[in-house]
C-alpha cells in the first residue's frame, strides 16, 4: 500500500496576542508525524483541548502551519488556504455540518461552488455531477432546490458529505461527523462512509469521542494530548493494551459504559 499523505514535523503555535492586559494563552501543536495510506481509516481521539480539530484544520489547509510539511502523493503540497491541490484532494467535513451550509443558498448552489471554482466543466455537466453525488449520498435529485432550514440534521450531514465528495478527493478529513446524530442515522452514515470508502478508495481521517464507532470503523488510532500525539497504533492493539495514561483513561471510561456481560 502506497503512502498517500505524509505529514512530517508539523508544528503550529497559537498565541492570543490581541489582549495585552491578559497573559497570552499559548497553545502549541506538534511536532506531528503522520502517514496515511490509500483506503485507510484513521481515528483521532483525545480529550477536549487536545488539538484534534486544529490538526484536522491544518491537514486540509484551513490554517497555515508554522513549520513542517505535508506531502500528497510524494508531492510537496504548499500550505495555507487556496492551494488548489489540497482543496482538490483533501476535503473536510465540519463539526457542525449545519453551520457549514450557507442559509441563503439552495443545496444545488452550495454543491456547485467547489465544481465552479476547481473544475472546467460547463453548467450542464456540473448540474449532472451535483445530481450524481446527491444520489450517491442517499438524497434525491429534488434536494437541489432545498434550503438549509428544510433539511434535517442527518440530511445536512449528507449534504456536507456530498460537498466533500464532489471533487472526488483522495483523503476525507472529518471533525466529529457523528456527534449530533441519533443512533440510527449515525449508523446509516457510518455504513454510507464505509461503502463509499470501498467504492472510491478514500482515506478517511476522523475525530470522534465515540469509541464504539472508532473501534468499528478505524484501522488505526491516534491519541492526542496537549497538542502531542502520545500514542498511535492498530485499533485492536490500542483497545486491548493501552500504554499511555490518557489512552488508559479513555479506554477504561469507554469499557465502563459497555456492559461486560452480554445478554443471553
Amino acid at each position: 500500500m502506497s503512502e498517500l499523505l505524509k505529514v512530517s514535523q508539523l508544528h503550529f503555535k497559537h498565541s492570543n496576542k490581541k489582549n495585552w492586559l491578559k497573559k497570552p494563552e499559548i497553545f502549541e501543536l506538534g511536532p506531528i508525524d503522520l502517514d496515511v495510506k490509500r483506503g485507510e481509516t484513521i481515528a483521532i481521539i483525545g480529550e477536549n483541548r487536545a488539538g484534534k480539530s486544529l490538526l484536522a484544520k491544518l491537514l486540509v489547509g484551513a490554517l497555515k502551519a508554522d513549520s513542517g510539511q505535508i506531502t500528497l502523493n510524494n508531492q510537496y503540497a504548499p500550505q495555507g488556504v487556496q492551494s488548489t491541490q489540497i482543496s482538490h484532494d483533501v476535503r473536510m467535513i465540519f463539526q457542525f455540518s449545519g453551520e457549514a451550509m450557507n442559509p441563503g443558498l439552495p443545496v444545488g448552489k452550495i454543491l456547485d461552488e467547489p465544481l465552479r471554482l476547481n473544475t472546467s466543466h460547463n453548467e450542464k455537466e456540473r448540474r449532472q455531477l451535483v445530481e450524481d453525488v446527491l444520489i450517491k449520498v442517499g438524497l434525491l435529485r429534488e434536494h437541489v432546490y432545498f434550503y438549509r432550514h428544510m433539511l434535517s440534521d442527518g440530511q445536512q450531514q449528507r449534504v456536507a458529505l456530498a460537498r466533500a465528495l464532489i471533487l472526488q478527493p483522495k483523503v476525507l478529513v472529518a471533525d466529529e461527523p457523528f456527534a449530533a446524530l441519533d443512533p440510527s442515522v449515525r449508523s446509516q452514515t457510518v455504513n454510507l462512509i464505509l461503502k463509499l470508502q470501498s467504492e472510491m478508495g478514500l482515506a478517511f481521517i476522523f475525530i470522534s469521542h465515540n469509541l464504539g464507532i472508532v473501534r468499528h470503523l478505524a484501522d488505526r488510532i491516534i491519541v492526542m494530548e496537549n497538542g502531542q500525539i502520545v500514542e498511535s497504533g492498530k485499533t485492536e492493539t490500542i483497545f486491548r493494551w493501552p500504554q499511555h495514561e490518557t489512552t488508559k483513561k479513555l479506554i477504561l471510561s469507554y469499557q465502563s459504559l459497555v456492559p461486560q456481560q452480554t445478554l443471553r
Binding site: A62, Q82, F94
Partner: protein, 297 residues
C-alpha cells in the same frame, strides 16, 4: 383493494417566498405597500397621469379650490395655486422629484456604503477600523448643516442637496455592512468556501451577499424615509430644489405665503409627504418582522 400511488405534494418555499407570505399576513404592512406602490406609479408614470403641465401658469384660474369644495371644478381635481398651476399635476410630478431623487440617493449611498463596509469587514485590525470610521465625522454633523455647507460652496439646487443627503446616509450603511461581513466571515460556511478556493470577491458575491440582502432591505427602507424627509425639508428651507420645480417641500414653502387664503396649497403637499413617509416606515417595519419570523420555523 387497489393499490394507490400516493405522491407527497409538499411545497417548500424559498426564504424569499416565506418572507413574502409573512409580510402579506400583516394587513397593515400590505396596506402600506399598496400606498407605496401607488406613489411609485405616480413617480414613474407622472407624464401620463398628470392632466396639465406642472409649470404651466393660468391667469384665468387662480386659487380654484379642490373639486370637493362647492366652488371647485372637476377640471382641477386638487384646485390651483397662486399662479394658477394645477395642484394635482404638481403633486404627481412632486412624487417623481421627491420620491425618485430619494430612491436614487439611497441606492447610491447603499452601493458606496456596502463597498466601503465590505472592504472594512474583510481587512483586519487598524486598517479595518480606519476604513470603517472614514465617514464617521459626517455623522456628527446634521444633514441640514452639511447641506448648508455644500450649498454655500456649490450653490443651491436639488442635485447639491442630494449629494449632502447621500453623504449623510453613507456611514450607517458602512457600519452595518462591516459588522455583518465580520460576523459572516467567522462562520463555517465561509471557511468551507475558502477551502474550495474562493477568493475574496467570490466569497463576497456567492457566500455573504445572499445573507446580506435582508439587512440591505431593512436599512434601505429606514434610509429612504429619512431621505424623503430631508429632501423635502431642504426644499422647504429653499436650500434644495428651487420653487418652480414641483418638489413637495418647495411647494409647501410656496403655499405658506397664502395659507390663509388657500389652505389646500399647504395641506395637500404636506399630506402627500406624510403618506409617503408613513408608507415607507410601515413597509420597513413589516419587512423587519417578516424577516425575523422567517427564521423561526
Amino acid at each position: 383493494m387497489a393499490q394507490f400511488s400516493l405522491y407527497q405534494e409538499e411545497f417548500h418555499p424559498s426564504p424569499w417566498q416565506k418572507t413574502w407570505r409573512e409580510f402579506r399576513s400583516s394587513h397593515i404592512a400590505s396596506l402600506g405597500l399598496m400606498i407605496l406602490i401607488f406613489f411609485l406609479i405616480f413617480a414613474i408614470f407622472a407624464p401620463l397621469l398628470a392632466p396639465y403641465d406642472p409649470l404651466q401658469q393660468n391667469v384665468n384660474a387662480l386659487f380654484i379650490p379642490p373639486s370637493w369644495n362647492v366652488n371647485g371644478t372637476i377640471s382641477h381635481l386638487f384646485g390651483t395655486d397662486a399662479l394658477g398651476r394645477d395642484l394635482f399635476s404638481r403633486i404627481v410630478y412632486g412624487c417623481r422629484v421627491t420620491l425618485g431623487s430619494s430612491i436614487l440617493l439611497v441606492l447610491l449611498a447603499m452601493i458606496v456604503g456596502v463597498a466601503i463596509g465590505t472592504i472594512a469587514g474583510m481587512l483586519q485590525g487598524v486598517r479595518s477600523s480606519v476604513v470603517n470610521h472614514l465617514f464617521d465625522a459626517l455623522m456628527a454633523i446634521p444633514t441640514l448643516l452639511i447641506a448648508i455647507v455644500i450649498v454655500a460652496i456649490l450653490g443651491t439646487g436639488l442635485v447639491n442637496s442630494m449629494w449632502a443627503i447621500t453623504l449623510a446616509l453613507t456611514p450607517q450603511f458602512v457600519h452595518h455592512t462591516r459588522s455583518l461581513v465580520r460576523t459572516e466571515m467567522k462562520k463555517e460556511y465561509v471557511l468551507a468556501s475558502k477551502l474550495d478556493g474562493a477568493n475574496h470577491f467570490q466569497l463576497f458575491f456567492y457566500s455573504i451577499l445572499p445573507n446580506m440582502i435582508e439587512m440591505l432591505v431593512v436599512q434601505g427602507t429606514i434610509a429612504l424615509s429619512i431621505a424623503v424627509i430631508d429632501v423635502s425639508a431642504l426644499g422647504f428651507l429653499n436650500l434644495g430644489a428651487r420653487p418652480p420645480l414641483p418638489e413637495l417641500g418647495a411647494m409647501l414653502a410656496d403655499g405658506m405665503e397664502v395659507a390663509y387664503a388657500a389652505p389646500w396649497t399647504v395641506a395637500l403637499p404636506g399630506l402627500t409627504i406624510f403618506l409617503i413617509v408613513l408608507a415607507i416606515n410601515i413597509v420597513g417595519d413589516g419587512l423587519r418582522s417578516a424577516l425575523r419570523k422567517r427564521l423561526t420555523q
